[in-house]
């Protein structure tokens, strides 16, 4: 452990170790206050950023924030570090790295080559001294492309998850939300449902429902039932038509244990998904969710700030070669991200850090009713993320998730972003929408009440 300090005027700010610098340098988050590690004055926060800017990137290889011996995520990060890929930036400080990220030298190709050489702690560190502007501009230069039945993350595209949640998994209710979304051209990243329970039979019924729909209309899509990885493994064994294996993951071994997983089990889940060989244009078979605060809520953060722990979850994600990953940014609650300012900041941080590390990052632009946020704030965040080149966003009917009781984006919002930014859905899905006459050459939706839309809506889920 090495103490670092800086003299600002007459005040000397001392930081006991690297994780104290990181925590103090973090933009204000209620979760870091709750953990008792946030900077206690505004000056101290900036002091920590001065200190952080002068720390060599290499320091994060030499001083693990969470011990190598006791945490398998730290071992994954350090054992998997690609020194050759790191070489171009190995001489840089965090501050120099920030300047390089924004320079003309930093191209999409350079970032793709660099990704395996970066650790989550390096990504988190540089993000802490980057303004929202910097996070957007740098993220927009990244490209992380993955595929299963559609190809996601191609430059100039914007994909979406269609989330047809229902409080009792009623098949007609789920079908209503799904068919509505398809008429808006939503679902090219995934049609993904949070089931009401972890019951294997119920999950398998949902998988079958989506698979029948896919085959009936010949949709190039993948579905996912967001159940625990052990349930997905059982579903594979039982012969269910499973496309993607889901799991929530976090940035420490202890927090993952709180989710009932470890790296070995996650590997097993991925192998189960791969064994079915159901992808047509790629074999990225996992869907992962993360979110700042999840480790703290499991009391498994090791005194590390919530944004850095979140970035460490992307090392877990990167290892699993997922199709899609998203932060559930405003879902975890105001004790971790208090208001829209914190939610928006966290959304941009998570997207930037994920993409920088080579993770196919999306965002659930969302909030709960006890957070200081509303739909205007979500409008802001979705436009910012679209500018940053986000791989995909989540949408639910009318922005209202009637099962999880929180608000996300509406199907309308995705269509609106596609038009505003000229970013069509994944190419395979776009071709299907054209074939179905659901989308015209200008990216416009079919007229309301048109016969093509009716053909979809009249589909009987139970038939």
């Amino acid at each position: 452990m090495s103490v670092r300090s800086i003299l600002l005027g007459r005040q000397r700010h001392v930081f006991d170790d690297l994780k104290a610098v990181m925590a103090a340098a973090s933009p204000e988050k209620s979760g870091d206050r709750l953990a008792g590690i946030a900077a206690d004055t505004n000056e101290r926060r900036v002091a920590a950023r001065y200190v952080l800017a002068d720390i060599p990137l290499r320091a994060f290889l030499d001083e693990p924030l969470i011990p190598y011996e006791t945490d398998e995520v730290t071992r994954l990060i350090l054992d998997g570090h690609d020194a050759a890929a790191f070489a171009p930036v190995a001489h840089m400080t965090v501050g120099q790295f920030r300047d390089w990220l924004l320079s003309y030298d930093c191209t999409t190709e350079a970032l793709s080559a660099l990704a395996p050489g970066l650790t989550p702690e390096m990504a988190a560190a540089v993000s802490k001294i980057m303004r929202n502007h910097d996070l957007i501009v740098a993220a927009a230069k990244t490209a992380v492309v993955t595929a299963f039945r559609t190809t996601i993350g191609l430059p100039g595209r914007l994909s979406s998850r269609l989330q047809p949640n229902h409080p009792t998994d009623d098949p007609e209710g789920v079908a209503g939300s799904t068919l509505d979304g398809l008429t808006y051209g939503i679902g090219d990243a995934v049609i993904g449902i949070n089931p009401a329970g972890d019951n294997l039979d119920a999950c398998m019924r949902l998988m079958e429902l989506f698979d029948r729909l896919r085959q009936r209309f010949d949709i190039p899509m993948q579905s996912c039932v967001l159940t625990h990885v052990t349930t997905s493994i059982k579903a594979v064994e039982a012969g269910a038509p499973l496309d993607l294996v889901f799991q929530s993951v976090a940035g420490t071994e202890a927090a993952n244990r709180g989710f009932g997983v470890d790296l070995a089990l996650l590997d097993e889940g991925r192998a189960a998904g791969l064994s079915l060989n159901r992808g047509t244009v790629g074999d990225n078979v996992m869907y992962l969710e993360t979110g700042q605060g999840s480790a703290l809520s499991a009391d498994a953060h090791h005194g590390v700030d919530e944004q850095t722990v979140e970035a460490r979850a992307y090392a877990v994600a990167r290892h699993l070669k997922p199709l899609i990953v998203n932060t559930v940014v405003g879902f975890i609650g105001p004790e971790y991200l208090y208001d829209a300012k914190q939610i928006i900041r966290a959304g941009l941080e998570d997207h930037f850090c994920g993409k920088l590390l080579g993770v196919p990052m999306g965002v659930d632009v969302c909030y709960t009713n006890h957070a200081e946020a509303d739909q205007d704030d979500m409008d802001n965040l979705m436009f910012l993320l679209a500018s940053a080149g986000v791989n995909f966003l989540i949408a639910v009917p009318g922005a209202d998730d009637v099962m999880l009781n929180y608000q996300s984006l509406s199907y309308h919002d995705i269509v609106s972003l596609r038009h505003s930014f000229g970013r069509p859905p994944a190419p395979e899905f776009e071709a299907w929408l054209r074939r179905m006459d659901l989308l015209d050459g200008d990216g416009r939706l079919a007229p309301q009440g048109s016969s093509v839309a009716r053909r979809l809506i009249d589909y009987r889920a139970s038939a």
């Binding site: 209503g176 208090y338 609106s416």
Partner: protein, 248 residues
């Protein structure tokens, strides 16, 4: 093609889902009616979170029949309560000094939680329905908890010396239901109990579980917990005849 069903292609789904489907659009955007409907629902949810339960009036009404103790958590106000759940889980130590232990089987805590509207609408009625079914047990003075979370009941119940505590609390509001009440039953309440050591009856509201049915389930849990000496994941509601209870 002029039957009423054809006017709304989503008509067949509306009976089975509250999801905001088939909203229509103007260009890519939501029609104004859908925008305002959403804003109204969100406004009600926000008002429920930030509303105040009139605990003084409630204390007076409940106090007509039985002793009442008003307590506050360590969270001084709503912003603190929302940002610091740890403070909402603990009782203000100054007030705790006034609580004396007794030989009680059950203590009830009515807590504001995340929905003042839920507590105002359902708290007293569910409490009364439970008490009517528990005439044979020693019931502690009713605690009214301000800025309180579920675990607040652990410390309050412990201070009262109760074998078991029931916390009736406002649940986090969704857009479709801003006033849903939850009941958390915890055997041997003491500071540090985990959520896996509790049983919960949730979704008590006008379109969910009715008050009397909720009381049936809560009282079943109370009696089973006192008999078995535990609550939590090891106390399954489908054991011991609970199948006769209404399922939401």
């Amino acid at each position: 093609m002029s039957t009423p069903v054809d006017l709304d292609p989503f008509a067949r789904f509306r009976a089975v889902t509250r999801a905001r489907i088939g909203l229509g659009r103007t260009g890519d955007s939501l029609p104004i009616r859908a925008v305002l409907d959403f804003q109204l629902a969100h406004a009600r949810a926000r008002d429920a979170v930030h509303g105040h339960v009139d605990f003084a009036a409630m204390a007076e009404r409940i106090g007509a029949d039985r002793p009442v103790i008003r307590l506050k958590s360590r969270a001084a106000d709503r912003p603190t309560y929302l940002a610091r759940p740890d403070l909402g889980r603990r009782v203000d130590p100054m007030m705790l000094a006034d609580v004396s232990k007794g030989a009680y089987d059950v203590a009830f805590v009515v807590a504001d939680g995340l929905s003042a509207a839920a507590v105002e609408a359902h708290g007293e009625s569910v409490l009364a329905a439970c008490l009517r079914r528990l005439g044979d047990l020693a019931v502690a003075p009713v605690v009214l908890g301000e800025q309180a979370r579920v675990a607040f009941g652990d410390e309050a119940g412990e201070a009262l010396g109760a074998r078991l505590v029931v916390v009736l609390i406002g649940e986090r509001p969704g857009l479709s239901v801003p006033d849903s009440l939850g009941a958390y039953v915890t055997f041997d309440p003491s500071v540090g109990r985990r959520d896996s050591e509790r049983n919960c009856v949730s979704n008590i509201h006008a379109d969910g579980l009715p008050h009397e049915a909720a009381a049936d389930r809560i009282v079943w849990l109370i009696r089973a917990a006192l008999r078995l000496g535990l609550t939590g994941v090891d106390l399954k509601e489908d054991a011991g005849g609970a199948t006769a209870l209404p399922i939401v």
